[in-house]
């Protein structure tokens, strides 16, 4: 163990529990516990990992196998990848994905890119961890409508899954392994390799003049970065951006908090690969980026709960075109999937 690592551990213990601790020299990890190496651009924050779910190679391999396995819907034709399409930055092409019963869901399937950085999951923030979020689509009647324990019973006899479960978590396949492995695979879906990133890394020619003007608007006059900030181009906060109001409107975050002040608020989506993730908004009601920009240019729909950040912008036609050009430059130039 390095001295620096020891010091960090002691600091964590002191900060978290108010006590110091001693650490022993530890043996090297066996090969099957090898930690997965995430590739991140220099300067990015560390992703949110969990102490009970080390990001190992075996765990992400198992997670990837599960992600594409239709047995998660008890063999009724849906896997996670059915609504989170890799070719669409792990989002869907339709406003509402169709569940196992042939009915549409209630909200647009968001991209999973960079979910490792999200403090809360789902558009309403109802899941506190990626591990717990796994239960949401499994249970949802309009999605997989599965009993998670039945899923476990179905999968645990599969030798490939059983072996990887033992390798990754030293235990037979169960709900714990199911949720941890799926969470870890999703943590590896990093979107950070667009022309915008190359521009930030010093490649001045990575963006053309229109895209660069769009970037300046994005971080300035167009006020996008008030919410779409940071490496993931999201503050991961919740905002009411002036979508549909009135009876029957989606309560958004209020459904979780029951706070009337959260009415119609949804988590700010990251904008990476936004060219691929339409239709847009929590309800998939906008099919093009131009529509989205028009919405914000008008200041959204009026309503008592609208975020005061959302105001009319009065952008010119050229400015709107430049903004779209910049958004198109946020598309990754390679696969998001780092798992072989």
């Amino acid at each position: 163990m390095t001295r620096r690592a020891t010091a960090c551990c002691a600091l964590i213990a002191l900060l978290a529990f108010g006590a110091g601790c001693a650490t022993d020299e530890l043996e090297p990890l066996p090969p099957d516990k090898a930690l997965f190496t995430l590739e991140l651009p220099y300067g990015w924050p560390a992703p949110l990992l969990r102490e009970d779910n080390p990001l190992t190679v075996a765990s992400v391999q198992l997670g990837k196998a599960l992600f594409f396995d239709e047995r998660l819907s008890l063999g009724r034709g849906l896997s996670c990848a059915s609504c989170h399409l890799p070719a669409r930055a792990f989002s869907d092409t339709v406003a509402f994905s169709i569940g196992v019963h042939g009915h549409p869901g209630e909200r647009n399937a968001p991209s999973l890119a960079n979910v490792a950085f999200h403090p809360l999951l789902n558009r309403d923030g109802g899941a506190p961890t990626l591990e717990q979020q796994v239960f949401v689509p499994l249970y949802a009647e309009e999605e997989m409508d599965s009993d998670p324990q039945q899923v476990v019973e179905l999968l645990k006899e599969d030798p490939y899954i059983a072996d990887l479960s033992k390798l990754a978590y030293d235990r037979p396949f169960d709900l714990y392994v199911l949720t941890r492995a799926l969470a870890n695979y999703q943590r590896t879906l990093i979107s950070a390799h667009s022309r915008y990133d190359r521009f930030l890394q010093g490649d001045a020619g990575a963006l053309d003049p229109s895209e660069e003007r769009g970037m300046q608007l994005f971080f300035g006059e167009a006020r996008c970065a008030l919410c779409h900030s940071g490496s993931d181009l999201s503050d991961h906060g919740f905002h009411n951006i002036g979508m549909a109001v009135g009876e029957g409107a989606d309560p958004g975050r209020q459904r979780i908090t029951l706070d009337p002040g959260d009415r119609g608020k949804f988590k700010t989506p990251g904008l990476r690969n936004v060219a691929l993730t339409g239709p847009y908004m929590h309800d998939g009601s906008m099919t093009t980026l131009a529509e989205v920009i028009e919405h914000f240019d008008k200041g959204g729909l009026d309503g008592p709960d609208k975020d005061p950040l959302i105001i009319p912008l009065h952008l010119t036609r050229e400015q709107k075109d430049d903004l779209v050009a910049f958004l198109l430059a946020l598309t990754d130039e390679g696969s998001l999937d780092q798992v072989e």
């Binding site: 650490t23 090297p28 970037m215």
Partner: protein, 297 residues
Amino acid sequence: MPFGPGGTWPPPRMQGPGRQRMGNFVPQGLSPIMTPTMNVASFSRSLSGAVLMATIFLFAACRQDPELTAPAGEAHVPLKLTVLPVWDGGPFDKNTVYGAAGDQRVQVTELKFFLAPLELTGPESAYQVFDADLFDVANGAVERVLSVPPGHYDAMHLGLGLPYELNHRDLATIPPNAPTGNNSGMYWGWGTQYRFVIFSGRFDSDPNGTGEPPYTFDLHTGLDTCYRTRTIPLQLEAAGDDTLRMTIRVDIARFFTDGNEVLDLSQGAVWHGDPDELPLALKVADLQVKALSADPE
């Protein structure tokens, strides 16, 4: 107005390497203090050691509330707990249509709920009988064989629903057949929390109606704001080897009125977490906890 990644404009251009390779390990809730140059594997292993040490310290530092400490060294006394559904003090049958407050005809077909916790308290000691248990009483009384330390208990403290710390536990860490496990049928996937009470059946607002009531009601209370606690006086002497008997009565007729408020199903008969109908859920939760009583009083 200057905006940008990290709040500044223009976004900082980095002259260093374009990528870093990270297999870092940052527990949620703790500061991500590992640097990109740190040896990842050693960090992970040393962190495990640190967390273990800190956890040991934490447990050592945190003592149980002395008021909830049972007398030590004495054999427990067997306790048979019965959770008994009744209608207005009399027998309850899920196939029967009852007359309820507000001139309603009601047939209750589902009633399932968490009690969490159940504690017995006395002048000198207190004891948590269980932290959480699930009771499905639609088909009649449910019994549990438990035990308590010897002593005199003069009150029962219980919660209807789950307290925050249990309501927000990770379902995957709970054995499937535990009261709060996956197989309870109480988990609300959309909120990663639990239903506290499932109360369903049929109703009619016409007191002169006949036969099966035409409308359904489906009141699934949950979310932290619907958790209710109550302290009920009782007299329980735990001594010797004889099995103690204790009954928690659930008077379903009182789900519809406490003598003051009336649950009028024609004004709202469904709740599955809709914030617009929250007052209905709060009324249901208030009435339901008041409908609990205990024997021997």
